[in-house]
């Protein structure tokens, strides 16, 4: 399943400052359709900021983000959704007082679902939400809210999916299951960027990783190679991969 298509997303030299702090300091990478790219790095290295810039929460201060040959840096989020970018959130953000069905319905109505979109019932079934379809999102467990976030994103038929710590907090069986789902999505042609702390999970699903530190990439390649690079080991202080 190694990707051979041209990149759908190209991030080059992106800078994002908060006051004097450079959260992103010239970040560059790309991802292609059908590819699963892992973004790894210590806390504060800019992974989530990168996701936030790509999904339109922040406009980049410098550099460019191009998606399917269109410059999208600083574009409003709902327009990015219509172009085919979507994401999940580290802390799931469903519409708490609306039911699960209503949550997905908003995304289907406004996210540009077509006749070819998977029916809502199938999506809910597939991500184990069918039983709670008529319950308010606030009743769901954290794991279920994460799945709802994902279903909401998928309902807009994205071409690029950004998963921000989707796996954190899932048990081993759920992890295996969701890894399978993510791989299947990529095989369907979706480009996927995964931000994750669980290195085992990253190893299991990604084709390639970008190791980030202090707002830029310090390594690009497979995780197996990454863990042998001194610079990468230094950044992680031998900590997280062992766990």
């Amino acid at each position: 399943m190694s990707p051979d298509a041209a990149p759908i997303l190209e991030v080059s030299g992106v800078v994002k400052r908060f006051g004097g702090f450079h959260a992103l300091d010239g970040l560059s990478f790309h991802v292609s359709p059908g590819e699963i790219l892992g973004l790894v790095g210590p806390n504060g290295s800019g992974k989530t900021t990168a996701i936030n810039v790509i999904s339109g929460l922040y406009a980049p201060d410098a550099g460019s983000v191009s998606f399917a040959q269109t410059q999208v840096g600083g574009m409003a989020s709902h327009k990015l959704v219509h172009l085919g970018i979507n994401r999940t959130f580290q802390v799931p953000k469903p519409f708490m007082s609306l039911t699960v069905k209503q949550n997905v319905e908003v995304a289907r109505t406004y996210g540009g679902a077509t006749d070819k979109s998977p029916p809502m019932a199938d999506l809910l079934e597939e991500y184990r939400l069918a039983d709670v379809a008529n319950r308010p999102a606030s009743d769901l467990t954290n794991a279920q809210q994460k799945m709802l976030d994902l279903v909401r994103a998928l309902a807009t038929q994205p071409k690029l999916l950004l998963l921000d710590e989707l796996a954190a907090g899932l048990n081993p069986t759920e992890l295996d299951w969701i890894a399978g789902r993510i791989k299947a999505l990529a095989q369907g042609g979706l480009a996927i960027i995964v931000v994750e702390h669980l290195m085992g999970f990253i190893e299991q699903i990604t084709d390639r990783v970008i190791v980030m530190n202090a707002g830029k990439e310090i390594f690009e390649g497979t995780l197996a190679v990454a863990v042998k690079v001194p610079q990468v080991i230094e950044v992680f202080l031998g900590g997280e991969h062992a766990a």
Partner: protein, 306 residues
């Protein structure tokens, strides 16, 4: 039968019919008219607060602007009353347009800024320097258009429109998207919803109904001062009524008006401070014990309240 039709037929129509026949069996027409006005204003607050989460502490600004829009059309252009009411609505929408940047503010900041905006409009209109146009603090007297019967009918029409808007919001994907924006604006934009556009539309709809209500109020009373039509009581009552019943529903604000404005008229007129005490305590109890309003007593049990 689609829910939209069902809700309008079983909630809005009976209320409108009762209000339409009430004057022939009940003598206190002013009281009935005030009920109509508060039904409209409470639902107007529902549109903006219930569906988008912006609490309009200066909601009366639109009402007063509508009343003065009406007065100026009648005084200076001799416009017929129905046209002047429509202009009152338009003036409120224009005020809403001017105040659109306030929607950039969140939570309490919006509410305070909105309150300040209403007070600014009041002081502008009541300024003696503008006496030529607004009659300043001395108030207006519009004898030429005085016709309480027609004004009451106009009020019922505006209520019908307002209920139509709320029923639509409750049952449409547009209303659902607004609620999504209220719950989490970034998540809503990741569902493809244009957050700014949604809020702006709700804001203007809410301004429109308050402006029309202000226009029809000016028509009904025909003599008033700036302090009457910009009285903070209108904002406060409308908000409390809507919250008490339960926002983001069709019936909640209506129940709130019927119960609380009913109580107000039983005890309020002679000793308003006792009513103020009671509704102050009610608000506090509501926030502490029943933040989603009376209807939440039913929704908690899993009943669906339209």
């Amino acid at each position: 039968m689609p829910d939209t039709v069902r809700h309008y037929l079983f909630i809005a129509v009976p209320l409108l019919v009762v209000l339409a026949v009430a004057p022939s069996v009940y003598n206190n027409h002013l009281l009935l008219f005030n009920f109509v006005i508060f039904f409209i204003l409470a639902q107007g607050v529902n549109i903006i607060y219930g569906f988008t989460g912006y609490l309009p502490f200066g909601y009366v600004g639109f009402f007063g602007a509508g009343a003065y829009g009406f007065a100026i059309m009648v005084m200076h252009l001799n416009a017929p009353a129905p046209l002047a009411v429509l202009v009152g609505g338009a003036v409120a929408v224009v005020l809403g347009l001017i105040l659109t940047p306030l929607l950039r503010l969140s939570g309490a900041y919006f509410s305070i800024a909105n309150l300040a905006a209403a007070l600014a409009v009041l002081h502008l209109i009541a300024n003696p320097a503008l006496e030529q146009i607004t009659k300043g603090p001395y108030g207006v007297a519009l004898n030429g258009t005085f016709n309480p019967t027609m004004a009451y009918a106009g009020g019922i029409l505006i209520l019908a429109l307002t209920l139509g808007i709320v029923v639509y919001l409750k049952n449409s994907s547009f209303g659902l998207a607004l609620q999504a924006v209220r719950e989490d604006s970034f998540s809503a934009s990741m569902s493809g919803v244009s957050v700014v556009r949604m809020r702006t539309i709700a804001w203007r709809a809410s301004a429109l109904v308050a402006g029309l209500a202000g226009g029809v109020f000016a028509w009904y009373v025909s003599v008033f001062y700036p302090d009457n039509v910009f009285s903070a009581d209108f904002s406060i009552f409308a908000i409390v009524f809507a919250l008490f019943g339960g926002v983001a529903t069709i019936s909640g604000p209506l129940i709130g008006v019927i119960i609380l404005y009913g109580i107000y008229n039983l005890i309020g007129f002679t000793t308003p401070q006792y009513f103020q005490l009671i509704y102050g305590l009610l608000i506090m109890a509501l926030v502490l014990f029943l933040p989603a309003g009376l209807v939440s007593l039913a929704t908690r049990r899993g009943w669906n309240v339209p």
